[in-house]
């Protein structure tokens, strides 16, 4: 009898913990909404006053206030993703197909170290190392490619600009994309690779024919997850970027853009209660954007997982854990992954 009740108790603890996750997520949404609500349904004058104090009096409308922030957030993250994507795919291919087998795990550990470094240290590094050293580079790009609007405009010195920020963001999301891409590349069916080689393909042609098509969906969702990470990154942006609130697309010009997250962190300490509500409302906007990006990433994963026996799904589930805590158990996990593979083959 006692055993039975202990059994039940344990089960209900487990169920309770699961339900608590639901409750916490609901609480996040509810509490943020409650705290943000004064901006929309409270005292109009107070809300207008706090927004105009954030924007230096240029607007009293919340959406006019948050628009440039959304733009800046997406601009910085998209640039970071663009910079990180090709490098990450390159590293992943290097680890999965070019490096000697014995070195591979060491190499991926080194890349994962990049993700272990706290963002505030990246901020310091960006502000003291990157900012002074990138100015000549931006100057050259500006003079050569200045006819492209993105690279046009005056080059600020020191370059506390979106361009510099996006480099730091790219470094920060690099390990996420790399580790997911690597895990998918490693799972490319060996038979397809060998078939390509047997037909006389060079190594690169083999990768183009067999590895990359297999990994396309995974790569897309990996980069979406990386994008989601870059969107929410606060400290590096806060410490490097000289903020402004315009829709400026000149990435070498300072004081034009700001991101939502950095704006919250910058304004929060001095904000009054209405100011805090306004900032929390912008936080909600950020939450919605990252949610959308992550949701798209998961959808892509699910679509591909129905095609490919859940292999990518298992990698994704694992990477969800991994992109925050890297490589818990390389050996154990690879065991489980091969297990999945075998199951898949048996199923066919």
């Amino acid at each position: 009898m006692k055993k039975f009740s202990a059994d039940k108790l344990f089960k209900w603890c487990a169920v309770g913990a699961g339900v608590l996750i639901l409750a916490v997520l609901a609480a996040v949404a509810v509490f943020l909404l409650i705290q943000a609500s004064p901006v929309f349904i409270g005292d109009r004058d107070a809300a207008a006053h706090s927004i105009s104090s954030f924007t230096g009096g240029s607007t009293t409308n919340f959406f006019v206030f948050v628009g440039p922030l959304i733009f800046g957030t997406i601009l910085a993250s998209a640039l970071a993703l663009f910079l990180a994507f090709f490098v990450a795919v390159g590293i992943a291919l290097f680890i999965s197909h070019y490096a000697p087998k014995r070195l591979a795990s060491v190499l991926s550990y080194i890349v994962d170290l990049l993700a272990a470094i706290p963002s505030v240290v990246y901020g310091l590094w960006g502000a003291f190392v990157l900012v002074p050293h990138t100015y000549p580079v931006w100057k050259v790009i500006n003079s050569v490619l200045g006819w492209i609007p993105l690279f046009g405009g005056p080059v600020s010195n020191p370059p506390r600009t979106i361009a510099t920020v996006s480099i730091v963001l790219a470094v920060m999301i690099l390990p996420i994309i790399t580790s997911m891409a690597r895990d998918i590349f490693v799972q490319t069916p060996l038979l397809q690779q060998e078939a390509a080689l047997a037909l006389g393909a060079t190594k690169w042609e083999m990768i183009k024919l067999a590895v990359l098509p297999f990994g396309t969906n995974g790569l897309v969702s990996a980069s979406m997850l990386g994008l989601g990470r870059a969107l929410g990154e606060t400290m590096a942006v806060l410490m490097i970027l000289s903020p402004g609130s315009t829709y400026g697309i000149h990435i070498f010009t300072a004081s034009r853009n700001q991101t939502i997250a950095a704006n919250i962190a910058a304004q929060f300490p001095e904000a009054d209660s209405m100011g805090v509500s306004t900032l929390i409302a912008t936080g909600l906007v950020l939450f919605v954007i990252t949610f959308a990006v992550n949701y798209i990433a998961r959808r892509i994963t699910h679509r591909s997982s129905s095609k490919k026996n859940g292999m990518i799904a298992s990698v994704m589930a694992w990477s969800t854990r991994k992109f925050s805590s890297r490589n818990a158990n390389h050996s154990a996990v690879s065991k489980s992954d091969t297990g999945d593979n075998n199951n898949g083959k048996a199923g066919e």
Binding site: G90, V129, N294, N327, S331
Partner: protein
């Protein structure tokens, strides 16, 4: 590796001419120039891929190098054992990170105490109890959502919640713990889930066959087998949240004296300390210090940056040690499942 490639890329020789149908295989024979072009592309891509890896190493080495070089100057026993109380400008009591270290320790511990039980029990529920039920899907989906929450939004959530419960503007260490546990829970759930699902079913069935109840089987057999992986996952999750700045900036704030009470008053943490020192810029020195900094070694205008770098060095050391421990635990204690 390259040798093997070359043998594989040799074009197929024309077949024995004695065979009756003699198709013109030369038609398919690649021209020398196209072969060379393919080889060139192959080489080019190989080089690009190697370069990609080198590119990734540059920031890593640069970050570690700058932090060590700039941080080692102020990194001593004095720095570790003093707080920022009574520290004025660049003058003598140079201050340290004792208060920040205490804050980080307590807030992180609080986050661990909140998130480890919830995370592990949720994973137990997902793996052992809810075989593909609707709740399973919902929870699994929401954990994905949770892992995508930007850290500053987690901080705002904790702030908003405690503002509503304990009155507006509540800032203390525990609020920070709650914010961090939002970030830790998805990590811990995913790790534990992974570790639980690789525990062989045979072990569970053997235990049931001996008449052991389900809860005891889970606690004594399944969790026991998965323990090293879980511990390593938890340590790695700690290594991640210990460097979080933004959520603590809005929940725990900063203070210059040492606060041991997690539940009352603001608490400085290491990352926030780094940010604060960085933000305050060059310290002011009285005019005498023009000579003083050289002659008496009194006033250091760049003291705040030195402190920021030294604290960053401490942070990196802590994070790297935690990472190493996490991996070692996983490697050494992992139960051989085969």
């Amino acid at each position: 590796m390259s040798d093997k490639n070359q043998t594989q890329t040799v074009e197929p020789q024309a077949l024995d001419p004695d065979f009756v149908p003699t198709p013109d295989f030369d038609k398919f024979k690649p021209s020398r120039s196209s072969l060379a072009a393919r080889k060139r592309t192959d080489l080019l891509m190989r080089i690009l891929i190697y370069i990609a890896f080198v590119i990734a190493l540059i920031p890593l080495i640069s970050v570690l190098y700058t932090t060590v070089v700039n941080g080692v100057h102020r990194f001593d026993w004095y720095f570790l054992t003093h707080n920022m109380r009574g520290v004025v400008g660049g003058l003598y009591p140079y201050g340290g990170i004792l208060h920040a270290a205490v804050g980080t320790l307590e807030i992180t511990l609080g986050a661990v105490l909140i998130s480890v039980p919830i995370g592990i029990m949720t994973a137990v529920y997902l793996v052992e109890y809810s075989a593909k039920k609707r709740l399973h899907k919902a929870i699994s989906f929401l954990i994905d959502v949770m892992s995508g929450i930007p850290s500053i939004v987690a901080g705002l959530f904790a702030y908003a919640m405690f503002s509503l419960i304990l009155g507006p503007g509540t800032m203390n260490g525990f609020v920070g713990s709650v914010a961090l546990s939002i970030l830790m829970i998805p990590t811990i759930v995913r790790t534990t889930e992974e570790m639980l699902s690789i525990v062989p079913v045979d072990l569970r069935e053997a235990s049931y066959a001996l008449g052991v109840s389900k809860s005891r089987t889970i606690v004594k057999i399944v969790l026991r087998t998965a323990l090293p992986g879980i511990v390593s996952g938890v340590i790695l999750a700690i290594a991640r949240v210990i460097g979080e700045t933004a959520p603590l900036l809005v929940t725990a704030g900063a203070i210059s004296s040492t606060n041991f009470n997690l539940f009352s008053g603001r608490m400085t943490t290491l990352p926030v300390y780094v940010y604060n020192e960085f933000q305050q810029g060059i310290a002011s020195c009285p005019t005498i210090s023009k000579f003083g900094s050289d002659d008496f070694g009194l006033c250091v205008p760049g003291i705040r940056m030195e402190r920021a770098w030294a604290a960053a060095l401490v942070l990196i050391i802590v994070v790297l040690i935690l990472n190493a421990i996490g991996r070692l635990v996983a490697k050494i204690f992992s139960v051989k499942t085969k």
